[in-house]
Symmetry: D2
């Protein structure tokens, strides 16, 4: 993801890469990493003296909390895509940033189509009493349903505030009706050939409404990072979740 | 549609049918129309003396303007699904209602899934530069593309305010790229077996977002009528389009 | 279905309705049923003296065996869509017809798109080790999965002769992976707005193949009946299942 | 594609790589190409003395005819995925192989799902008078419609032998009904986020049948190459098109 971020920054006229940070970097010569000679390469917090607006972090779970804290303390607005922080850690970072009125974002998913799907699902949930979720992933994905599918169900339930009602006389001997979250059925397909598709279907008398998002390349996350960079510059608090700024 | 409206009203606890109006009705006996004995049957404006909240109109183009005007003048909130009025007529009725601070709605489409699709498309249009629209209807539909498809394209363009850019080197000898509205391609499928499906697809690097609505029965419009009834009771102006209240 | 059969026959130049049979018919006057005056109306086997090629039966489970037996014994080729016969009964009828070298068909499903979907699935099953089945029906359907979905799984397994292999490390806490038939996962969606859709998806490295059929009107069965009529005229045995002649 | 072929061969127990041929290879040391020491590396026809069963060719248009001819003359069964030969050249090669009763295949598309889609379309075309084709590709694809879409239309027309009939009163001001091949409408969508999807839809009264294939990775072609290798070993003629052996 780091490489994708660099490529994205290079492609945007209003963004400039001023420095990179990697504690295991042996060389500090930007040429060794195909970076412009103006870019500083740091491998220790103590070296960081650059005047940057944004700290973008797609590093590792063990490093992300300290990195983000460092950024906030040095008034660099954090855009954090690394997962693995506890709710307490996130709360601490948010308080730190908010007290300084510093913009920032921590998001587990920078996929714009996924976030829009979830936002639209919450609107549709006001008008349709019935919905089901389907997701299609490659055969190597171990967890079922996907985090996005589960989140979508939760967001729908948050809006509806009551369990969806299914036919009580249903006879389902083999579990074909799928997983259940407060009456919202969730179906997970695992087949080679799929990358990552998520779909939520709302049904009402004589009509259905389907919102589907398909991810074919994780490059798509860069669109969300780009939006986040623009938005945190305008904000004076740290938000959690891309949906808060879209 | 009139019958569907009556059935819908009967199924809702908080709604009560107090009167029906049909200038060509010969009998004024509600029993002749399987209506409750409490329901008044009118065939002339002059007879109408009922204290009603809502005037629901799915009549004919030649009658709808006078009907709506009559309703507004008598402080009955209009919920109008009949098409055929000119923009001038609609503007006149809106002024009439707004001056009286009377709620009301005139809508060409009471399909909730279609209206939500269009609303969501306008949001997605902010984040995706590229989109195409597909619609699938039965072989008897004469106009292509459908009004909903065309409206969706217009709404997307309203948000984006510039033409979408397609590949200039495209070689399309037979017109397979479909119709074009400011760079938004529109594809109309006509096949027996389809009823009415509309789909808008947004594409970005490595991801797509699809919003699809399917109408299998025009009964679905009653959900929109029901929402409209609830909403106009709370409003003090006449709105045009279901999307204004959803 | 009886009415649909009559309408279909009327629309085909090479078919002629010669008689109808209904044991509970009170009148034997064709005019009482809007039938042509040349059509005989029978309400008892003993009356049947017509020289017909085909006996079409969409009656009731308790009558279908006797009806079919009667037809075969009188050299009228049976086209039977009524369900409810036991395997023994079907075997007996088949022997009866085959001994006489009389063409005929007994089919539980005259939907051509459904039968083709199943036939194509059997071919694809030779080339793809992995498949899943999804079906979408209205909320009033009680059985899950649908008979067509279950049959499709069986036909795929018949071809593959071994269980499909799913990821052993899969973690599915809520049953989202659906029903299982020899490793073929089956997902049943029940939502208002759907009529009857069936879908089988095959996945291989870097590609998927989906075969989907959608039934929006049971009139579609008449195409299968029409094909059956043509085919049984050419045959000298009774077949079970529309797939045998398509 | 060459690298994919090597990886595929390595993964199959019953296949063994014995030699590679590349006229521009500078070194003939297999170690320079990460090949097993038993593999011969040739850069000139004159060197080829290996006893091989199969010649797999994904080279370049200017080389493929001579390569294939050389293979046939030396009794090596050709499996050719390189495009660019004329019909005359293909006919000459076929005669050469057939005269020697040598198995072989020349195919423009080794995608199994695409080939099955086309085969199934030809069967469905017997039972449905109406069909349309949709294809979805990334925005960089220049030709529209895709070759597969066009081929599918041709194959359907070959079976039906007459033009499909569309509604004569259709009003399509902007070309939304798409391209036309003998009445079969073809729709090409070009959006970032898509890789390569092809879809053929058949419509009849009250039902539709859709066959869709999706290619997410060109690795999928290796399945077709693998099938071809097995099949040409059993054959005594050169076939053109993967559909001939599937």
């Amino acid at each position: 993801m780091g490489q994708k971020v660099l490529a994205m920054i290079n492609g945007e006229n209003d963004l400039q890469l001023v420095a990179v940070f990697n504690p295991v970097a042996k060389s500090q010569d930007p040429a060794d990493y195909d970076l412009d000679s103006s870019v500083k390469v740091y491998n220790d917090y103590s070296q960081i003296d650059v005047d940057a607006d944004i700290w973008i972090d797609f590093s590792i779970p063990s490093a992300v909390f300290d990195n983000t804290k460092f950024a906030i303390e040095h008034n660099i607005k954090p855009v954090i895509g690394t997962s693995g922080m506890s709710e307490d850690q996130i709360a601490e970072l948010k308080k730190l940033a908010d007290d300084k009125k510093l913009g920032g974002i921590i998001a587990s998913n920078f996929g714009v189509s996924a976030v829009l799907m979830m936002k639209f699902a919450q609107v549709a949930a006001k008008y349709f009493d019935h919905s089901e979720i389907l997701e299609f992933h490659h055969e190597d994905k171990l967890d079922a349903p996907s985090g996005t599918a589960m989140n979508t169900a939760k967001l729908i339930h948050d809006v509806q505030q009551k369990d969806q009602v299914n036919n009580k006389n249903e006879q389902d001997k083999i579990g074909a009706r799928g997983g259940d979250y407060h009456g919202i059925k969730i179906h997970a397909v695992r087949l080679p050939g799929f990358v990552a598709d998520e779909e939520v279907v709302f049904g009402g008398q004589g009509e259905t409404l389907t919102i589907k998002q398909s991810t074919t390349d994780r490059n798509s996350f860069m669109k969300g990072v780009r939006i986040a960079i623009t938005e945190v510059m305008k904000r004076d608090e740290l938000v959690v979740g891309l949906e808060k700024i879209i």
